[in-house]
Homo-oligomer: 215 residues x 2
DNA sequence: GCTGTTGCTGACCGACCGGTCAGTCAGTGG
DNA sequence: CCACTGACTGACCGGTCGGTCAGCAACAGC
């Protein structure tokens, strides 16, 4: 009998084997840059320096490998952002500024994970979307909304805007920047595309204070 | 042979034949929802109700078909937005409000085109990104930036923010909404996810007036 | 009649796909 | 020493991929 090909449990933490690690790394890189269908098991095997059959020894099939890559990316990404949201103190506006700046920085540093998750979000079915909202983004988003609510309660932020909307707007600029920065760089007048930190600072300022001139 | 001399072709592009139209429509739907690699020529042929060989009769290969689908999507999308930006009159702020609202509406109505173009933007190489910036988004973006500059010159908008940054922020909310609305719907407190028009109105208001409480 | 030309098709091709299988090899407990 | 195990591999499977090609039906002009 060959090795038992039991399915990897999505909730419990399976064993991160030694040889499987290289496969996961190679697969993450390829899946993130080219997408699921454009990456063959042969390509992953070659990139990982192992035989194709070896991948099937560690993962039951291609989909299971992809899900495992996605799972690790989600947990990694989620943990980093939650950590960032928790530790801060001081005025809410300063905490928001810091978080937004860190968020874009995190996207750019963990580009592969971010791309993988985004790909999943952008083409998810309704059922998948609900799962993503609850198990991947729920905690982070709720934490951010709580922070905004606190800012409203303390009179730092306008209370007549839904806090969730503010959260979305704060993240929208970052995500658009992350997604389109290569194109942005070639648009006229968008020289901020080359400087993420400057973009985040200016965008957050604009959103906080408004772009309309107060008479 | 271009025997159809009775029909004046509006663009320099080749004529969209009768039988080729069905292929283009089927291909656009499939490419938009599943991506290039996940769609086979067999699937396109079946969806279009023709033989696979017929596709190769009208298009030299899969890539050429994809590029043709992309080209028509780009020209269609671009023309609609440019038209919207040109005709308006009145205060700049009102024109911006109207444009942003129409932009999200356009994204949702032409979901397939929008998805196709986004897919291209998000995974474009540097060379492709430059081409997209110059030939697809350049005109629209520049027009929007000009409108913002006019608003700044007339004292309607703050002049200390780069106009291109304002343009990006105005579009960012819409695009994030379009991309993540399925996930958004399941996030706590984001009930605006079900009402695009309301989202756009509130988001634009927030951006125009700022979310910080003015003492 | 014949002769292109055009739109279209079924049959087919080599390459590659995800996945399987028999078997090798190093380690290890008894 | 042996028996067993898990990591690993080359060869191979059926099936599908993008793409080709000879040919058919319809229709024009001669």
């Amino acid at each position: 009998m060959p090795t038992s090909s039991d399915k990897p449990d999505p909730s419990a933490a399976p064993l991160p084997s030694e040889g499987a690690r290289a496969i996961l790394v190679a697969a993450e890189t390829l899946f993130a840059s080219r997408g699921y269908d454009a990456v063959s098991m042969n390509a992953i095997a070659q990139a990982a320096g192992v035989s194709k059959a070896n991948i099937f020894h560690h993962f039951s099939n291609k989909k299971a490998l992809y899900l495992e890559v996605l799972r690790s990316a989600c947990s990694h990404e989620s943990a980093e952002l939650l950590r960032e949201l928790e530790q801060q103190s001081g005025p809410v506006i300063e905490r928001l500024r810091h978080f937004v700046g860190h968020h874009l920085d995190s996207l750019l540093r963990n580009e592969r994970s971010a791309r993988l998750i985004q790909r999943e979000v952008y083409q998810s079915s309704d059922a998948q979307a609900k799962e993503l909202a609850e198990h991947v983004f729920g905690a982070n988003f709720e934490r951010l909304v709580e922070l905004i609510k606190a800012g409203q309660a303390q009179g730092e932020l306008r209370a007549d805007i839904e806090p969730a909307l503010i959260a979305v707007l704060l993240l929208a600029g970052n995500i658009l920047f992350f997604d389109t920065r290569r194109v942005l760089r070639h648009l006229p007048g968008a020289d901020f595309a080359a400087d993420p930190a400057r973009f985040t600072r200016m965008a957050t300022d604009a959103l906080l204070q408004g772009i309309q001139l107060n008479k």
